[in-house]
């Protein structure tokens, strides 16, 4: 006997029973297909929603919190910033270029849906190891995809991360963050209101690409290469030129006040956009499936309704404004077609309304008839079993026992940990719009803040960072995630910014394993605790589960995107650099704990106990650093993160071509510890007393650790080499692994 159709669409038997209850009858195939995509893990967050509720989401400056297309915060001067992060992990594993490209396209639509002009992208990327050929192929394809789409669509990519680690073998993480700005009064929400208003489909035609992408791809793990290759038709294909025209047309429609609500078509395509706009507005909608412009002949209604063809938007407009809408779209060569009408619903007092009806012509046969809200609100909610891994309890017993890591060659380790990601970001336009004060490669990116309509410079800046650390989270997802949020906060402080909001991309394994659910739940608690302590709300996020390949789940990888504001941007932040004769000082508490560090993992030590986060100390350190940076007291600054003080010093040295003579670092543990709340600064000798006074007043520990200058890199008792040794290690790694991009 063949498998029941609901199972092949990814629905469980009990979910099928729920649908029968909602409809009071058996669903037909079209209805079943619509429930299948909307109730997929990717769209419904059915395994994570119950936990996400624990995150703090409110602050006086939050205009829109989680649940909309993007979070929005008030940044002053009548300007709001919209922020959103998404994953495109699974498509990118199958078809790296298009997977990454359409990830960029999707996140941009989330931002201009809110009425914001997208002004910056960031792309935290994680791949398998460089010595694996397939991982290199995926990395090159993904980076080309981000470059090809992002550059062409005309939004600068100003930063991100590039991490190579065995945990991502077969399952890369491709996260994309977008920042947009809008006048506060142009904020629009993705909702349909007003009976008789029209749903106008804008942009590309609808084809058979990406059908079931959310259920087939994004909500299942990977098994073997042959099966995965068969999934390739579920990956969509992007067209940045179409998207560029769509952005300009939509922003012009919004400027002209012609749009009541607007929604992008992403995962689950038309089904999601029509039902979401209707149910958010408390209305219903009739959709004429035959009116949808099709890319190919003979498409079935279920294909049209679930297609994930890219570069499409759904605008709700008043009938009187339709002619002007079409006129503006024609000017931008953007297709505009009326495909739906808003019908009564609970918002108009019609309790039996709120139906999403798919019709064969507005006066024709009703092909599907379901309560619009049931696709969202009635989606299953799972409190899946959670259990700490057995090793975890073992670890607790060993609390206090320091893990020891030993190395025969500290210099070789340092070189191994040094990676210049310029090979990646030199392929991205990171300067468009003349905002980029600090581009990729620093602690955080810095943008000038201009008014999106008048283009007037406010004299202030926005700062943006993304951070993730799977090594910490593998040891302790709760503390690891809190430390990740802490790192973001300190990255912003290093460019003189104070934090405003966080978005998160929670990349985890298969939630059907209790250990993975435990990781997810712990990580959310860690993030919630840190965000509350730092008073930074979470305004949106994305959960990507089923990141597993051949039975191996990835290390838990919550990625944090944090936006902050710089109150006075008169000069470029000092950045990761040294000046000749500058004094090197380490701000923050000493630490020699190496558990969870890159150095420990280099030596195959995976367990241990993470250094604790002292929230009060962390806030004091951030405050001190912000003051020193904005007061221009320091000449160079770099937070201590991946690779510890050793890598912080080495990066400052190679980036400025100036050597280091350091002492008072007792051993390799102190050199490579990634203990939190620490920043290395380079200070002109006459300003050392200022730094000392500021730290003393704040009760923040400070250590003099050396002098910058010359062409040697030396750490007393540990390393002594020509700076050029580090420079080659730094710049050659990606060039030699992935091919020289510039062939200078």
């Amino acid at each position: 006997m063949s498998e029941p159709i609901h199972r092949s669409l990814g629905l469980t038997d009990s979910e099928f029973a729920d649908i029968q209850t909602i409809l009071g009858r058996d669903p037909n195939h079209l209805e079943l297909a619509m429930y299948a995509v909307m109730w997929s893990e990717h769209c419904s967050y059915k395994s994570s929603r119950i936990h996400l509720k624990r995150l703090p989401t409110e602050a006086p400056w939050v205009l829109v919190g989680p649940g909309e297309n993007a979070g929005v915060v008030d940044v002053g001067d009548g300007i709001a910033a919209a922020l959103r992060i998404e994953s495109h992990n699974h498509p990118s594993a199958i078809e790296p270029y298009q997977g990454a490209a359409t990830g960029v396209g999707g996140i941009l639509r989330d931002i201009f849906t809110m009425g914001a002009r997208p002004i910056a992208l960031m792309d935290p990327l994680r791949f398998g190891p460089l010595d694996d050929a397939r991982s290199r192929w995926i990395a090159e394809g993904v980076i080309s995809g981000v470059s090809g789409y992002g550059n062409s669509v005309g939004v600068p990519t100003i930063g991100g991360e590039t991490v190579f680690d065995r945990t991502y073998l077969g399952n890369p993480l491709v996260n994309v963050l977008c920042l947009g700005v809008l006048p506060v009064d142009r904020l629009v929400l993705g909702q349909a209101t007003g009976v008789g208003n029209l749903a106008v489909l804008l942009g590309s035609t609808t084809g058979r690409d990406g059908i079931g992408g959310v259920s087939v791809l994004a909500s299942a793990g990977f098994s073997d290469e042959e099966t995965d290759a068969q999934k390739r038709p579920s990956v969509q294909v992007g067209d940045p030129f179409e998207e560029k025209r769509l952005i300009e047309a939509c922003l012009e429609l919004l400027d002209a006040g012609l749009v009541v609500g607007i929604q992008d078509l992403g995962g689950a395509g038309l089904t999601c956009a029509t039902s979401e706009t209707a149910s958010r507005g408390g209305m219903g909608m009739d959709v004429d499936v035959t009116a949808v412009p099709q890319r190919e002949a003979g498409m079935e209604p279920f294909e049209i309704m679930t297609s994930e063809s890219q570069e499409r938007m759904l605008a709700i407009v008043e009938p009187d404004g339709l002619d002007r809408v079409i006129e503006i779209c024609e000017r931008w060569e953007v297709r505009a077609t009326v495909i739906g009408k808003v019908t009564p619903g609970p918002a108009t007092g019609d309790v039996d309304g709120g139906r999403l009806r798919i019709m064969n012509g507005f006066d024709g046969e009703v092909l599907a008839d379901i309560p619009a809200a049931s696709l969202h609100e009635d989606a299953p909610l799972y409190d899946r079993p959670r259990q700490a891994p057995s090793a975890w309890n073992e670890q607790l017993r060993q609390l206090g026992e320091k893990k020891s890591v030993s190395s025969a060659n500290v210099l070789a380790d340092l070189c191994e940990l040094l990676v210049d990601t310029k090979w990646v970001w030199s392929q991205y336009d990171h300067q468009l719009f003349l905002n980029t004060v600090e581009g990729p490669g620093g602690d955080a990116a810095v943008l000038r803040l201009k008014h999106p309509i008048t283009m007037a410079d406010t004299g202030r800046g926005l700062a943006l960072t993304t951070d993730g650390n799977h090594r910490w989270c593998a040891i302790d997802p709760r503390v690891g995630t809190a430390l990740t949020v802490a790192e973001s906060l300190l990255n912003l402080a290093c460019v003189g910014a104070r934090p405003l909001a966080v978005v998160n991309c929670l990349n985890f394994g298969n939630p059907e394993y209790p250990e993975v659910m435990w990781q997810l739940s712990e990580a959310i608690d860690g993030m919630g605790e840190a965000c509350r302590a730092f008073n930074v709300p979470v305004i949106g996020g994305n959960v990507s589960l089923y990141n597993e390949s051949q039975g191996n789940n990835i290390d838990p990888t919550p990625v944090v995107g944090m936006v902050g504001v710089i109150d006075s941007l008169e000069r470029r932040p000092q950045g990761v650099r040294l000046v000749e004769g500058g004094r090197l000082m380490l701000i923050g508490p000493p630490c020699d704990e190496v558990s969870g560090s890159r150095w420990a993992r280099l030596h195959d030590v995976f367990e241990g106990q993470l250094p604790a986060l002292d929230v009060a100390m962390h806030l004091s350190v951030a405050e001190v650093v912000r003051a020193l940076v904005s007061g221009d007291v320091v000449a160079g600054v770099h937070d201590v993160a991946n690779g510890g003080v050793g890598i912080a010093l080495a990066e400052m040295a190679v980036r400025s071509g100036i050597g280091v003579n350091a002492a008072r670092i007792a051993n390799a543990n102190e050199l490579f510890s990634e203990g939190p709340s620490r920043v290395v600064v380079c200070v002109e000798p006459e300003k050392m007393s200022v730094v000392e006074n500021v730290c003393q007043e704040a009760g923040v520990p400070l250590a003099r650790i050396g002098v910058a200058g010359g062409q040697r890199f030396s750490v007393k008792g540990l390393i002594d080499c020509e700076l050029s040794v580090l420079q080659s290690a730094f710049s050659d790694r990606l060039d030699s692994a992935l091919g020289s991009g510039t062939a200078q």
Partner: protein, 223 residues
């Protein structure tokens, strides 16, 4: 009367607002010119900005050159009006036959966004007349197809007629003779791959581009 600089926008252009900012910094008006109009709105100078006109379909500039506005730009150029093409604008000008040569894919076959050092090789053009000959300026590049090429005879002509306006100090893309920018015989049409509008503020990393826009504006005054 105030000088007006027209900035042409095709579907897919993306540097137009940046060029407008650089133009306004000179205290003159910037006017957006839509590709579908065949009028230049009495502008005194024209800039074709960077981006991906028509998505670079077929090849960069190949479709844009057929836009109605390009007929007017060609006419304006023939009459001696100052025309500058930046990046994609340079590609469009070569496709339109207003400048010789062509831009092919970078050596290395990668998109490249980075700082570039340029040497000013000729100050006899509408974009460089206020620059110092031989000076090295820092102007960002941002392109995939920036590898300038032309036949040997054209190259010789460019060299002999002092029409190579900028050369790269460290050739990033494989351009023949390190060429970063050229001008036409009348010296009123200049194309370059680097983006001077991205170098108009120390806050953004360089202000070496300001003098180029000053040159363009003063060429109008002089003309």
């Amino acid at each position: 009367m105030t000088t007006r600089v027209g900035v042409v926008v095709f579907p897919g252009s993306n540097c137009e607002q940046d060029v407008c900012e650089a133009v306004r910094q000179q205290g003159v008006q910037a006017e957006i010119l839509w590709h579908g109009d065949s009028s230049l709105q009495q502008c005194d100078a024209i800039v074709i900005p960077g981006g991906f006109a028509y998505g670079d379909y077929l090849r960069p500039g190949a479709i844009a050159r057929f836009s109605p506005v390009m007929g007017a730009v060609s006419q304006f150029a023939r009459e001696g009006g100052p025309v500058v093409g930046i990046c994609n604008g340079f590609q469009i000008l070569t496709e339109a036959g207003l400048l010789p040569g062509a831009l092919q894919k970078n050596r290395g076959l990668k998109f490249l966004c980075s700082e570039a050092q340029l040497r000013v090789e000729s100050t006899n053009s509408v974009l460089t007349q206020q620059l110092d000959l031989g000076a090295v300026v820092s102007i960002p590049i941002n392109h995939f197809e920036g590898n300038y090429t032309c036949d040997a005879q054209t190259l010789q002509q460019l060299q002999q007629e002092d029409r190579i306006v900028f050369r790269y100090v460290n050739n990033p893309n494989g351009s023949v003779d390190d060429i970063a920018g050229v001008c036409n015989e009348g010296r009123n049409v200049v194309g370059l791959m680097p983006h001077p509008e991205r170098a108009i503020s120390d806050l953004l990393g360089s202000s070496d581009g300001i003098a180029m826009f000053r040159s363009l504006v003063s060429s109008v005054m002089a003309g």
